[in-house]
């Protein structure tokens, strides 16, 4: 054995050792149940996790979101605004306690958020997609609400009558208005609409008081509507004629979430005074808690400027309800009990849970987004799908590998087995390369496909070499000369053919996203490393014997 060869052998053996050292954390982390390691030794769990091969969202589960940043005034989104929105989202995600988020800019006005391992899409949507603009409004008086209800009923009734030519019927409907008024009184008397409807001709009531007919309860400055009627009510409110009868200083706004009363679910429609009394900009901290009745609340603290404003607002309106509005929805409208200055409390509306209060506290603490965002894509990969993908990827990889290994050994005998060694080392090196600190590539499902495909492409180098050696042998050359000539002449072909694959992989990486990038990475690394494994390593093995009488090929 020549000295140069010896050096190369040492290099190869070193590379193998380094690969195993690099891959040890991944093997330790993924071979057992990560949850068990976490319970037994949390510090070891985190140290292993940090050094183990990173799995893509499609394999370990998680949330992926694409957000469109919109300028509220409809103009172009500047990169400054994009940066600010990104920073705000980062703060929110950190404060909420989601680990290892990946938040990136995409194009000039989009933001991509990846939350590996996190699978609660609804919370993620609220946490990331809501503007979190806090506002305080007073409510309109009971009399004003009644008047508005009547006005809306009358335009709706007229609208619904259109098309019915018989004027007589319309007149008849007007005649009966006394009775329906009586029914309304019953309704206003906080009786259930069912009772009211039973007392009078239900059909007639729906015709003349279409909006009131949808209401289940009317209590002071808000209407309560069952979920069955919620959608129709929403549509009614969008009709231009209905919009036209709502005075400018009145704002109709829905509650944040439905409430369950007995066996029925309600949505609440509030009638607000349009004037914004105060915003949440002077808020300095927020914390979820329970009130005396064990209901979830968010306690907040204002700066001195805000405290002064808030004290004057609450001092003037003791006994009146104050609506707490977040992003165009009324969270709740509790009655002002006393003058409040620095420390306020937000009662959570509907059947809120403490985790919803926590989410709101995080949003308020992080502050509102400087621009609106629209969720263009929201993807969540659940744990079952992730596990299933890993399982299938593993099976496919092992079977694919065995097929090729077996074929090569059959077809090229001992030489084929040498190629197989190169093949296995290639996979080892690709995986090891991915966990090199600084590289930290992510393995995705298409990435696994890339590795499997690399197997096919890697053997191509050896096929080229072996076919060439066979050709040389046929011309009557000695084994030694044939091997050398085979390698020599195949070298340029192999380089040329691999470079073309690398070029396509490069553009896939540049223009691809998420999983596709994972594919581009494993494919190009695999092809690149195969130059080393399929050319160098096999040659070293062939050169270990100096004289060949015959070659098993």
């Amino acid at each position: 054995m020549r000295r140069g060869q010896f050096t190369w052998m040492v290099v190869v053996i070193l590379a193998i050792i380094i690969s195993f050292v690099l891959l040890y954390p991944s093997i330790a982390f993924y071979s057992g149940d990560p949850e068990i390691i976490r319970q037994e030794d949390p510090s070891r769990f985190f140290s292993l996790k940090k050094r183990a091969l990173k799995l893509g969202l499609d394999l370990q589960g998680g949330v992926h979101m694409v957000l469109q940043v919109r300028d509220p005034r409809g103009g172009e989104v500047s990169s400054y605004v994009q940066d600010q929105v990104l920073e705000k989202i980062r703060i929110r995600v950190d404060k909420y306690g989601i680990t290892e988020p990946e938040i990136m800019k995409s194009g000039a006005d989009q933001i991509v958020v990846d939350l590996p391992g996190y699978t609660d899409i609804d919370t993620a949507k609220t946490l990331i997609g809501s503007t979190a603009q806090l506002q305080f409004h007073l409510l309109r008086s009971r009399e004003e609400c009644e008047a508005l209800l009547l006005a809306m009923d009358s335009v709706l009734a007229e609208r619904l009558e259109t098309g019915e030519e018989e004027v007589g019927e319309e007149a008849a409907a007007t005649d009966e208005s006394d009775t329906t008024d009586q029914a309304l009184v019953d309704l206003f008397g906080e009786e259930l609409a069912d009772t009211a409807a039973a007392e009078l001709d239900e059909e007639e009531f729906e015709k003349t008081r279409p909006f009131s007919a949808l209401l289940d309860r009317f209590t002071g400055a808000w209407y309560e509507i069952t979920m069955e009627n919620f959608h129709v009510a929403q549509q009614y409110l969008e009709i231009p004629e209905v919009q036209a009868v709502i005075p400018a200083n009145h704002t109709l706004m829905w509650g944040t979430r439905p409430e369950r009363l007995g066996d029925r679910d309600f949505q609440t429609l509030y009638v607000l005074n349009s004037n914004i009394e105060m915003t949440g900009e002077s808020l300095v901290s927020a914390q979820e808690a329970y009130d005396q009745l064990r209901r979830p609340v968010v306690n907040f603290e204002l700066d001195s400027n805000g405290a002064r404003k808030f004290a004057s607002l609450t001092g003037k309106h003791i006994g009146e309800p104050l609506a707490i509005v977040i992003d165009g929805r009324v969270e709740s409208a509790p009655e002002i009990q006393s003058r409040i200055a620095k420390n306020g409390q937000i009662t959570m509306g509907g059947d809120a849970t403490i985790s919803e209060a926590y989410l709101l506290a995080v949003l308020l603490k992080a502050g509102s987004l400087p621009a609106d965002v629209e969720i263009l894509q929201s993807t969540v990969v659940g744990p079952a799908l992730g596990k299933d993908s890993i399982q299938k990827g593993q099976t496919a990889a092992i079977i694919g590998l065995l097929l090729v290994v077996f074929f090569m050994a059959m077809y090229y005998r001992l030489s084929g087995m040498i190629a197989d060694i190169a093949l296995l080392l290639n996979i080892l090196f690709v995986l090891a390369f991915m966990v090199i600190p600084g590289v930290n590539a992510t393995l995705t499902m298409p990435g696994i496909a890339g590795i499997i495909l690399t197997v096919g492409i890697t053997v191509d180098s050896n096929v080229l070499i072996f076919e060439r050696i066979r050709e040389e042998l046929r011309t009557g050359k000695t084994v030694r000369a044939s091997i050398d000539a085979g390698y020599d002449r195949a070298l340029l072909t192999i380089i040329d053919s691999h470079v073309t694959t690398l070029i396509t992989a490069l553009f896939l990486f540049i223009f691809g996203s998420g999983p596709v990038r994972g594919f581009a990475v494993t494919l190009s690394v695999g092809v690149f490393l195969s130059l080393f494994t399929a050319l160098f390593i096999t040659k070293i093995i062939f050169d270990m014997r100096k004289k060949y009488k015959r070659l098993s090929i």
């Binding site: 659940g382 079952a384 299933d388 090729v404 340029l492």
Partner: protein, 328 residues
């Protein structure tokens, strides 16, 4: 020594009339598919059209028809419903609704006669998934439906993806043309690019004929097969270049090229077999996510092998016959 094929002397170049006709057919099919994709008429995945996909499991068995009935109540009776099996999946389904044009949420409006009419209006991807989920949970109240995965995509994301995919393909082809131009010469570069372009379009065309969904992963596969088919072409070209140096004066151009193809034929076939076998493994064992990806690759390997023999090299011959450069 085990050999699949012995030394051959098949006249590949002689049959180029037929192969050009066949390739022309594949090529036009691909162009047709490409045009249809651009105008949005092809069977595109939700990556491109927008839409929603949800995967979830019922506590107790449910038939596809029952599920379809529940979905048709919200106007999505045509949703793609697929039963899923595997570890952790029991009574599980994947439901996919494509495109924000067909996708709909009910909207109540008034008809002329005063009746309330429920219309279907376009919904953005984000609302669509919730609509499907709500429709299922309200219909199967007794049978708990647990969601495992969802994917809601707005059509706006698709526009960007389509643009990126086209850019990737154009730049990759240009890069390849330049590389081969430098390494071989201009004619080889053009011939290789034509062959590669042919392969990408052919697979796209076959995909279109099979009416299989064209997803982002399928586009990725198209690019990969561009790389693969090139590898094949380059190997043949390399041998042609080598043989042209030695035989330039003694033999004529077509037969040198034909000889070169024959010489590397065994390598071409063996590599195709090994690569094809791993791709078929992905198809069989890789699951739903990778099936279409692997299918596109498998077709790409077949077409790529064919094109390096029957397209790239004959183009060189045709060019040389029409505008002689090498043969004196």
């Amino acid at each position: 020594m085990m050999r699949i094929i012995k030394e051959t002397n098949i006249n590949f170049i002689g049959s180029r009339k037929f192969s050009f006709m066949f390739s022309g057919l594949l090529f036009s099919l691909g162009v047709l598919a490409f045009v249809l994709i651009i105008i949005g008429e092809a069977n595109l995945g939700i990556d491109f059209t927008g839409g929603a996909e949800i995967i979830g499991s019922f506590e107790n068995p449910v038939s596809v028809d029952e599920l379809r009935n529940a979905l048709s109540e919200v106007g999505h009776g045509k949703a793609k419903i697929q039963s899923i099996t595997g570890e952790g999946f029991e009574n599980s389904f994947m439901i996919r609704v494509q495109g924000s044009i067909e996708s709909a949420i009910p909207e109540t409006t008034f008809a002329e006669d005063g009746n309330i009419v429920v219309n279907m209006v376009a919904a953005e991807g984000d609302e669509l998934g919730d609509l499907l989920k709500d429709a299922i949970t309200s219909k199967f109240k007794e049978n708990k439906f647990t969601l495992d995965s969802t994917n809601n995509i707005s059509a706006k994301v698709g526009e960007k993806l389509t643009g990126d995919a086209i850019k990737a393909i154009v730049f990759a082809l240009l890069g390849i043309l330049i590389y081969i131009w430098i390494r071989f010469d201009f004619r080889f570069g053009v011939a290789a690019t034509i062959a590669t372009f042919h392969d990408v379009l052919a697979v796209l065309g076959i995909y279109f004929l099979l009416n299989r969904e064209i997803s982002l992963l399928v586009i990725t596969a198209l690019l990969t097969l561009a790389g693969y088919s090139l590898t094949d072409t380059v190997v043949v070209f390399d041998r042609i270049r080598e043989n042209l140096k030695q035989f330039r004066k003694r033999t004529d151009y077509p037969s040198t090229i034909n000889m070169s193809i024959n010489e590397v034929l065994s390598r071409t076939i063996i590599t195709s077999i090994t690569t094809l076998s791993v791709v078929l493994t992905i198809m069989v064992f890789g699951g739903e996510v990778l099936f279409d990806f692997a299918l596109a690759l498998a077709m790409g390997i077949l077409v790529g092998t064919y094109s390096s023999v029957f397209v790239a090299s004959p183009v060189l011959v045709e060019w040389e016959t029409r505008a002689p450069k090498r043969v004196k």
